[in-house]
């Protein structure tokens, strides 16, 4: 990519209840130069991300006092992620909180919703896949996960980093603004080839899904266009 950001190590949080799969995904991610943290459940993932009950739009029973006390248990102070996570990759089928539940919680949270989420599953269930994509998952990957799948993750991180900069940061000086714009332009010009490369990369998923007679587009995030347009 040739940008400074390409040299930065991105941090991926991998969630899977299977120890073997955690080992595998960890190795795959490290081989691709990601920094990795693995957890074995959705609730541990939320804990790591510094999620709080009151981040939801939904009413919860936790009153302020309780919340302040429970903050001590968390790594991060309230509403601020101390450890930056650039992407969450989670298994779908997990006891307790499923990957879908985790995805939903993250999207409902004001400060977690911008972290891209990728779902993995060993089962090729179209309704499941669509539900996840509609809830905002960037991508749905069929297990077993391969290096070629992991190579698809970086673009999602780059996309969201650019958007976050626009939403969160007020460009304090012109330089910063130029930086943002150039990143944006680069990403927008990337988005064309990216979409093609995504459909090429999807060919391995296509191969898997063709057996079930699914449309080849099913792994392409439907809301891809929405997230790329960062105005």
């Amino acid at each position: 990519m040739g940008m400074a950001a390409a040299d930065a190590q991105f941090h991926v949080l991998a969630v899977d209840d299977s120890l073997i799969d955690r080992k595998l995904i960890e190795r795959l991610l490290k081989t691709s130069s990601f920094q990795v943290t693995t957890v074995d459940s959705g609730s541990k993932a939320l804990e790591f991300l510094g999620w709080h009950d009151d981040d939801d739009d939904v009413d919860v029973d936790v009153d302020d006092d309780e919340r302040n006390n429970s903050n001590e248990a968390f790594v991060s102070p309230k509403n601020h992620q101390e450890v930056e996570v650039n992407l969450v990759i989670t298994d779908y089928c997990m006891p307790g909180m499923t990957g879908y539940d985790l995805l939903k919680k993250m999207k409902e949270s004001a400060f977690l919703r911008n972290i891209p989420v990728v779902i993995m599953s060993s089962e090729n269930v179209p309704s499941r896949i669509n539900r996840c994509l509609e809830e905002g998952a960037e991508e749905f990957i069929l297990k077993p996960v391969r290096l070629s799948d992991v190579n698809k993750l970086r673009p999602h991180i780059m996309k969201s980093k650019s958007i976050c900069k626009d939403i969160i940061q007020k460009p304090e000086n012109q330089e910063k603004q130029d930086n943002n714009e150039s990143t944006e332009t680069q990403l927008q010009s990337q988005s064309q080839p990216q979409q093609t490369s995504q459909s090429n990369n999807n060919s391995s998923n296509k191969r898997k899904s063709m057996d079930e007679g699914l449309s080849p587009d099913r792994t392409r995030p439907r809301y891809n266009d929405m997230t790329v347009m960062s105005n």
Binding site: S18, L19, I20, D21, K23, L24, R27, L28, T31, C93, S122, K143, P144, R146, L147
Partner: protein, 149 residues
């Protein structure tokens, strides 16, 4: 040289495991993830698979032995075993699990017992093969050769 001969033996044995369907492409992925900085990766993952499988096979035995068989629990165990065998490329074990799950759906105890037997058989077979393969690798490295993995 001894190393060369061992390398050849390894290569042929490795190929046969794929030809006979014991292993699939996913195992190759595992091998690709092993390198000088992670020389024990394949051994590590395979060992985890052995532990995991043995635990699950025991759980399945117990679950099928109950007065009131909990098919959902059995399905969950088989799903797990299917997942881990798939993750390491143990193709025949994975396929046996798929068949098993179909009979779970039908809530057919007799058939499930047969499936369990089948899965266990496939597991023991692949376990022996993998142990042999890993032993060969060990011998090569001990004799001064580079790991063929």
């Amino acid at each position: 040289m001894e190393v060369d001969q061992l390398q050849r033996t390894f290569h042929d044995y490795h190929a046969s495991l794929f030809n006979e369907g014991f292993l699939d492409e996913q195992f190759v992925q595992l091998q690709q993830l092993q390198d000088e900085s992670n020389p024990g990766f394949v051994v590590e993952v395979v060992s985890l698979f052995f532990e995991d499988s043995e635990r699950l096979l025991n759980d399945l035995s117990k679950a099928l032995d109950q007065e009131n068989v909990d098919f959902r629990k059995i399905d969950a165990h088989v799903h797990q075993l299917k997942g881990s065998s798939s993750s390491i490329g143990a193709q025949r074990v994975r396929n046996a699990c798929i068949a098993f799950r179909n009979f779970c759906d039908e809530r057919n105890i007799e058939a499930c017992l047969k499936c369990l037997q089948q899965v266990r058989q496939e597991y023991l077979l692949v376990k022996t093969k993998l142990e042999t393969l890993l032993r060969l690798e060990q011998q090569i490295v001990a004799a001064g050769g580079a790991s063929p993995m």
